[in-house]
């Protein structure tokens, strides 16, 4: 193969990679900004919806978005006990979506998955309190937050039910069916 073709191929590959990096960075920024914008509404967030979509669209690339997002959250709000939970809780959602996404799923399925994740959020985040104060501290912390988990679950369900299809369709129209 002539070296000039190899060079141009490298150029195209480099542009594509740069475009991918910028896109992932923008996606992480969008996650952060949307979370901050909805912060006045307790436990109502668009992060779950976007993490589901990013996982379906980018696959493992979504993990990079999550790394950026979690780092931003820690840098802005402080690296406290809740941040330890953030290190793994979104990865759990990514894993669930990755496993479920091997088959065609309906919008209702993704809404229910997001709802279940919202309901489980408090429990998943309570594990650092197990290390900090033992099982009673962990269970007490979780039980006290159940009303917020219920809001979180139903809010996720409603948001995903309404917005999943339009956003996914828009993405496919702009980028084609698969971008992983």
């Amino acid at each position: 193969m002539p070296s000039s073709m190899k060079g141009s191929e490298r150029g195209v590959s480099g542009v594509r990679r740069a475009r991918e990096i910028v896109r992932l960075g923008l996606c992480a920024a969008l996650l952060f900004v949307l979370k901050a914008a909805l912060a006045p509404l307790p436990n109502i967030e668009a992060v779950t919806l976007l993490v589901i979509l990013y996982t379906l669209w980018f696959g493992r690339g979504a993990l990079l978005i999550l790394c950026l997002f979690v780092t931003l959250e820690g840098a802005v709000y402080g690296f406290h006990l809740w941040w330890i939970a953030y290190l793994y809780v979104w990865a759990v959602l990514w894993l669930a979506v990755t496993l479920a996404g091997h088959r065609e799923r309906s919008t209702l399925f993704w809404a229910a998955l997001g709802g279940i994740f919202g309901l489980s959020f408090g429990f998943l985040c309570s594990f650092p309190y197990l290390a900090a104060g033992g099982i009673h501290t962990m269970l007490g912390w979780w039980a006290a937050g159940i009303p917020f988990d219920l809001i979180h679950g139903f809010a996720n369900f409603a948001l995903i039910l309404v917005l999943f299809s339009p956003l996914d369709s828009l993405w496919k129209r702009v980028n084609g069916p698969k971008t992983k």
Binding site: P42, N43, R103, E104, R105, S106, T107, L108, F109, A111, A112, L113, G115, I116, L119, S120, H136, T137, L139, G140, W141, A143, A144, G145, I146, P147, F148, D149, L150, G153, F154, F157
Partner: protein, 133 residues
Amino acid sequence: MKHTARRSGLTAALLFIVLAVLMLAARCCALPAAPAGEKRITVSVTYADGTAEHFEVSTRADCLKEAAEAVLTLEGEETAHGFTVYAVNGAEADFRKGEAYWAIYADGAYAQSSADRLPVFDGGSYAFVYERL
């Protein structure tokens, strides 16, 4: 394929509803509601220097915060975990500053809820204790 997708969606939605109901039941069992009517409780405060104050309170309040505010001045803020106390009667123990916090005890045991979510029962003893981190 579409039929399978729809069926998995309905199954997931059902699972979501069942989990929500179970969590509601768990919440009701874990944190029983305070009984209605007049209750006599003891509220104590132990300060940083070890001095303590004790108050006998007759209250119709459902939660400790409301009952304790009859005899104490509580300063703090609403957080996702309930009302977090930063000062009692002007004595500050703000955990955000990394030195100490106001621990809440109910009948001698470490409370599992914030002051505004802790139900009070007749004959109960509740304490705000200055504790170092």
